[in-house]
C-alpha cells in the first residue's frame, strides 16, 4: 500500500513537471497586460486577436498548414511504396537501406537544416517555398516509412498472393488488398508526419526566406524583439493544432497506433 502511495506521488510530480509549464503558458495567453505575467490580473483574448490580425503570423500559420499538408502527402506517396518494397523484398542491404531512410530522425534537425540550406538555398537556389517543402518532406518521410513499415510487418503477405491467384494483377492487388489492411498505419503515419512538420523549428529556421516562413519560425523571430503575451497565444495555437491531431488519432485508431 505504501508503495502505491509513493508511486502516486511520483506520477503526480512527473505529470506536474510536464504539464504545469503548458498550463502557465496557456493562462498567460489570456492576460490583459502587455507583459507576460502569472497569475494574470484580468481576462482577455486580445493577444489571440493580435496573432490573427498580425499579417506575418496569419500568413505563416497558413504556410505551416500548407507545408505540413503537402510534405505529409508527398511523404506518404513516397513512403508507402518504399515501406512496401522494404517489407516485401529479400534485398541484401535491406537493413542498411532501412537505417538510411530512418536517419533523419537520428541526425539532429539543425544539421539537416544546415545541410539543406547549403545545398538547396546556396547551391541550387531553389525557391524558398520549395526548399521548405523539401526540408519538411525529409523530416516527415522517416515517420511514414517507420509506421507504415511496422503495419506491413503485421500483414500476412499470403493474403496478397491469394489475391493474385484469384486473378488480380499485382498493382490492383496492392490497392484492393494491401492498402485496405494498413489504413490504420497510414493514418497514424499521416498524423505523426503532420505534427512533426507543423512543429518543426530547426529545418524551418534555415530554410525560411524573405516573405515565406513557418509559424514556429515566425514565433522564434518575434520572441527575439518582443516579449508580450502574443508569444503565449501562438504557443497555445501550436499546442491546439497538435492536440487536435492527437484527438483525431485517438478517436479513429486509439493512441496505441502511434506507439506501434
Amino acid at each position: 500500500m505504501r508503495k502505491n502511495k509513493m508511486l502516486t506521488v511520483f506520477a503526480v510530480l512527473v505529470f506536474g513537471f510536464l504539464i504545469l509549464p503548458l498550463i502557465i503558458i496557456t493562462v498567460t495567453a489570456f492576460g490583459k497586460g502587455s507583459a507576460i505575467t502569472f497569475p494574470i490580473e484580468s481576462f482577455s483574448v486580445k493577444w489571440f486577436v493580435k496573432v490573427f490580425t498580425t499579417k506575418s503570423f496569419r500568413i505563416s500559420f497558413l504556410t505551416s498548414l500548407e507545408i505540413a499538408m503537402l510534405a505529409t502527402v508527398i511523404a506518404l506517396l513516397v513512403g508507402i511504396p518504399a515501406a512496401y518494397a522494404l517489407a516485401r523484398s529479400g534485398l541484401k542491404g535491406k537493413n542498411l537501406i532501412k537505417s538510411v531512410f530512418l536517419s533523419p530522425t537520428i541526425v539532429p534537425g539543425i544539421v539537416i537544416g544546415f545541410v539543406l540550406y547549403q545545398f538547396l538555398v546556396l547551391t541550387l537556389r531553389v525557391p524558398v517555398f520549395m526548399g521548405l517543402l523539401a526540408g519538411h518532406f525529409m523530416v516527415t518521410l522517416p515517420y511514414v516509412i517507420r509506421v507504415v513499415g511496422s503495419s506491413l510487418e503485421q500483414f500476412d503477405f499470403s493474403t496478397e498472393e491469394a489475391a493474385w491467384s484469384l486473378g488480380c494483377g499485382k498493382l490492383r492487388a496492392f490497392f484492393r488488398v494491401v492498402l485496405p489492411n494498413i489504413t490504420s498505419g497510414i493514418s497514424a503515419a499521416f498524423m505523426l508526419a503532420f505534427i512533426n512538420s507543423f512543429n518543426n523549428i530547426p529545418v524551418s529556421m534555415f530554410l525560411s526566406g524573405p516573405g515565406v516562413s513557418t509559424f514556429p519560425a515566425t514565433l522564434m523571430n518575434y520572441i527575439e524583439y518582443n516579449y508580450d503575451p502574443t508569444v503565449s497565444a501562438v504557443s497555445v495555437l501550436l499546442m491546439a493544432v497538435t492536440v487536435l491531431m492527437m484527438v483525431i488519432v485517438d478517436k479513429t485508431l486509439g493512441i496505441a497506433a502511434l506507439a506501434k
Partner: protein
C-alpha cells in the same frame, strides 16, 4: 495421358542453395496427389512453382498440353488454399468468396448465384455476412476452400491446409476436402508433412526428399512397399539391415541368412521392417532370425516397444502389452519374409 506435368524443374534460392533438382511429376485429370516429405524437402517450393509464385530456373510446367511456365499467377486460374488461410480481413465471407469472380468481371447475378452455390457446398450459407476474425479455424478453412473453388480453377493447390486445426477437426476437414474434390472432379495438389493425413486423402503420393521425388505411387504401395531407405524411414520402418544377394538368399555382413518375398534390383540393398511386424522366433525357425538382448522398454498403451541389441545393430520391436520381456534378457527375433521389405539405400 498426363493432365499436369512438371518436367526437369530446377529451383535455386540466392543462386546457391538448390531446392529442386530436376523434379519430374505427372498428374492425371481429377486425381488428388499429395506431396509428402519432411520440412525443407522442397514440397512447398514445388507447389509454388505450380502456382506461379516462383519461376523455375529451368524446366517446364504444363497443364492440359499447354506450357504455363512463364504465365503469371493471376492468369493461371488456379485455386490456392494457404496454410494461414489468407482470407481478406477487410471483407466478409461473401465478398471474400466473390473476390475472384469480380476480378473476372462477371455480372452481379452470376456472381451471386455462384457464391451462394459454393457456400452451400462448403456448408457456409449462414456465415455470409461474417468477417474472418469472427470465425473459427475450421470455418475459415472452409471459406478459403470456397474462395479457391468458386473460380472453377483448372487446378486446386492446398498448402498444408489442415496444420492449424486441432486433431479432431483435421480428420473432419480432410474428409470434407476429399468429398468436395471428388464431387467437383478437380485435379488437386496437396502439400503435407503428415503421412496419415496424406494417405487418407490422396489418390497418389509423391514422397519428396532433398528436392527430388523419391517415390510416386498409391498410398497403399508407399505404405507397404517403400522403394528407398528414405521413404521407408519416413513412413515408419524403423529397422534396417544391410543385405547382400547370394543366389536366392540374402546375407548380412555377419553372415545371417535371410529370405525375402519381394524383389528389388540394385547394388546397395537394405532389408527393412516395421517394429510391429517383428515376431518372436519359435524353436523351428532358423532363417530370418536375429538373436539379441532386450534394452530400454517403453510402454505405448496397447503395446510395449523394446530396443533390442543384436549383432546387426539396434532393432525396435513392438509387442502386445500382455507379453513382457525384462531388460537384459535374451530373445530371438523372427523377421517374416513377407514383411521384410527390400529397399535401395
Amino acid at each position: 495421358m498426363a493432365y499436369m506435368t512438371l518436367k526437369d524443374i530446377d529451383v535455386r534460392y540466392d543462386k546457391k542453395k538448390q531446392v529442386l533438382k530436376g523434379l519430374n511429376l505427372e498428374v492425371k485429370e481429377g486425381e488428388l496427389v499429395s506431396l509428402l516429405g519432411p520440412s525443407g524437402c522442397g514440397k512447398t517450393t514445388t507447389l509454388r512453382v505450380v502456382a506461379g509464385f516462383i519461376e523455375p530456373e529451368s524446366g517446364v510446367f504444363s497443364l492440359d498440353g499447354e506450357d504455363l511456365t512463364k504465365i503469371p499467377v493471376h492468369k493461371r486460374n488456379f485455386g490456392i488454399v494457404f496454410q494461414s488461410y489468407a482470407l481478406f480481413p477487410h471483407l466478409n465471407v461473401y465478398d471474400n468468396v466473390a473476390f475472384g469472380l469480380k476480378m473476372r468481371k462477371l455480372d452481379k447475378q452470376q456472381i451471386d448465384q455462384k457464391v451462394k452455390n459454393i457456400l452451400e457446398v462448403c456448408g457456409l450459407s449462414e456465415f455470409e455476412k461474417r468477417f474472418p476474425q469472427q470465425m473459427s479455424g475450421g470455418q475459415r478453412q472452409r471459406v478459403a476452400l470456397a474462395r479457391a473453388l468458386v473460380i472453377e480453377p483448372k487446378l486446386l493447390l492446398l498448402d498444408e491446409p489442415l496444420s492449424n486445426l486441432d486433431a479432431k477437426l483435421r480428420i473432419n476437414m480432410r474428409m470434407e476436402i476429399k468429398r468436395i474434390q471428388k464431387k467437383l472432379g478437380i485435379t488437386t495438389l496437396f502439400v503435407t508433412h503428415d503421412q496419415e493425413e496424406c494417405f487418407s486423402i490422396s489418390d497418389k503420393v509423391a514422397v519428396m526428399n532433398q528436392g527430388v521425388i523419391e517415390q510416386f505411387d498409391t498410398p497403399e504401395n508407399i505404405y507397404q512397399r517403400p522403394e528407398t531407405e528414405f521413404v521407408a524411414r519416413f513412413i515408419g520402418f524403423e529397422n534396417f539391415l544391410t543385405l547382400n544377394r547370394e543366389g536366392n538368399v540374402y546375407k548380412t555382413q555377419a553372415g545371417t541368412v535371410f529370405t525375402v518375398e519381394s524383389d528389388r534390383n540394385g547394388d546397395s540393398l537394405a532389408g527393412t521392417i516395421r517394429p510391429e511386424d517383428i515376431r518372436i522366433a519359435g524353436e523351428s525357425e532358423d532363417r530370418n532370425v536375429l538373436t539379441g538382448t532386450v534394452g530400454v522398454r517403453t510402454f505405448l498403451g496397447k503395446s510395449y516397444q523394446y530396443e533390442v541389441l543384436t549383432a546387426e545393430g539396434k532393432f525396435l520391436v513392438s509387442r502386445p502389452a500382455e507379453e513382457v520381456y525384462e531388460e537384459g534378457s535374451t530373445i530371438r527375433l523372427y523377421l517374416p519374409e513377407s514383411k521384410l521389405i527390400l529397399v535401395n539405400k
